[in-house]
């Protein structure tokens, strides 16, 4: 395993120490693995907490700041955070208007956030939860734990964050988060597996001429394996899967996201194919984002997220934001 680490058992806390050094404008607690915006709690504003396993940076800690998240909980690598940390974050950001939990739909995340929400209730903090489940590669929820939360999380965090900044109510902030999620679909293809510090070797072996199709962001294998294909075919496969599950309406926010090990040069090339395809399908791309936003450590691969936005979502997407991972207008 080739990594810039000191001890495979102590990666997340040490990385958070680096985040703290790089971002004095954030309150980082490496011990409890929390990242909190410096001026939290903001009186009268809905507090927004997200979190999940580490290894997906800049998600979530890199999206903490004015206009987006109030706090993020960083679990161990690919392991959802514990209720204590989520509760601590919830308390830290409660400005009296309630707290929104943005939770990616994985059994572990759901259970730990649920427990924390219950504990917060004991503290008389009102908590609403938006469950993100945009990954259309997971098909039938009676046969599975349901669709996974992936790329759309960034859009949910950005849009709810912007609305909360306008002092909207917890109900409205949660509602727009759910709308974004409903209108979003994602699909990922990986060329290599991720290596976690704990495992020390790639999560799966993938021959040189094959790719994993419909892969998640936790090193798990995908729905199926397919022969390595040109970028144009990969783009078609992603676009087809998403538009089938989430037919076009409105104007699309398109996120072409790198999974960590794929160079930006390739992401742009792939995005060129995606954009051309969407045009041929009469999908209007209103906004786009190309880069590494929801990664899976060093996995080579990419995910496509399409959010069929309405005017309100576009307005909130365009709003100012100041976080390490996304910055605009300030």
């Amino acid at each position: 395993m080739k990594k810039f680490i000191n001890d495979p058992g102590d990666v997340v806390a040490q990385a958070l120490r680096g985040l703290a050094a790089a971002h004095p404008e954030l309150r980082v607690d490496p011990e409890n693995q929390l990242v909190v915006r410096a001026d939290a709690p903001v009186r009268g504003k809905v507090g927004i907490v997200s979190g999940g396993g580490s290894g997906h940076e800049p998600l979530h800690g890199g999206f903490v700041g004015p206009g987006m998240l109030d706090a993020a909980c960083a679990g161990e690598v690919f392991t959802s955070p514990v209720p204590d940390a989520i509760l601590a974050a919830t308390r830290a950001v409660d400005g009296g208007a309630g707290v929104l939990h943005i939770v990616k739909n994985y059994t572990g995340d759901v259970l730990n956030f649920e427990m924390a929400a219950e504990l917060a209730g004991d503290d008389d903090i009102t908590v609403e939860t938006v469950l993100v489940d945009d990954d259309v590669a997971v098909q039938d929820s009676t046969w599975t734990a349901g669709r996974r939360g992936t790329g759309a999380t960034v859009i949910v965090e950005k849009v709810t964050g912007a609305l909360a900044e306008e002092r909207a109510s917890l109900k409205d902030v949660a509602a727009i988060g759910r709308t974004v999620n409903e209108r979003s679909g994602s699909f990922a293809v990986a060329l290599t597996a991720a290596t976690t510090p704990a495992a020390g070797r790639p999560g799966f072996d993938l021959p040189d001429d094959e790719m994993e199709v419909g892969v998640g962001i936790h090193g798990e294998p995908g729905r199926r394996r397919a022969p390595l294909a040109p970028a144009a075919d990969v783009a078609a496969l992603m676009v087809d899967a998403i538009l089938e599950a989430k037919p076009a309406t409105g104007t699309a926010i398109v996120l072409l996201n790198g999974l960590g090990g794929t160079p930006l040069l390739e992401l742009y090339l792939l995005y060129g194919e995606v954009a051309a395809l969407l045009e041929s399908r009469d999908v209007r791309i209103g906004r786009s984002l190309v880069g590494n936003y929801v990664t899976s450590l060093d996995m080579a691969g990419a995910s496509l997220t399409i959010c069929h936005a309405d005017d309100e979502i576009l307005r909130l997407w365009d709003a100012w934001v100041r976080t390490p991972g996304l910055r605009r207008g300030v």
Binding site: G53, F78, S80, V82, Q139, T144, A145, H218, G219, P221
Partner: protein, 193 residues
Amino acid sequence: MNVEQARAWITAIATTVEAEAETLTRLDSAIGDGDHGANLKRGFAAVRAALEGFEAHTVGDVLTKTGATLISKVGGASGPLYGSAFRAMGKALASPDVTTEQLGDALDAGLAAIRKLGGAQPGDKTMVDAWLPAVAAYRKKGPRAAAAAAEEGAKATTELRARKGRASYLGERSIGHQDPGATSTALIFRALA
């Protein structure tokens, strides 16, 4: 089982989980995210530390502390599930010494907690598939039979298609791999035997 024996059980779990962490991680890499071994190792190391110097008056105290610590330290799916199971067992055993029958009821309460929280049915390829036959065997024939039944239940998950947890994303591809959570449940019952 008395308080000391309860402590010994938990310590034995911690030891076997440590020894088998790599196996659990390997199983979890195949159909999950490769952290189950690390999760339980971290969790039971914390439990060991939490129990040191902890004044327990009842068997339940030991198990409740174990459950609470797992919830606070593990994360993932297995943290809340195992944590709730041990808390439920603890709640059911509020005396310094408990009978085999009482322990049997408590194990059943643990199973119920897992099923309530996770919503898994038998055959969904989860820890339930080891825990369920183990409880039945414990009641009929005691701890050794429970350990054997858990082991067998874990092995039998290999042929199943996962319908809960991370392995469910793989669909058909989850078949042919033993479930990591069922495997760790077998370790928990082995430590009891």
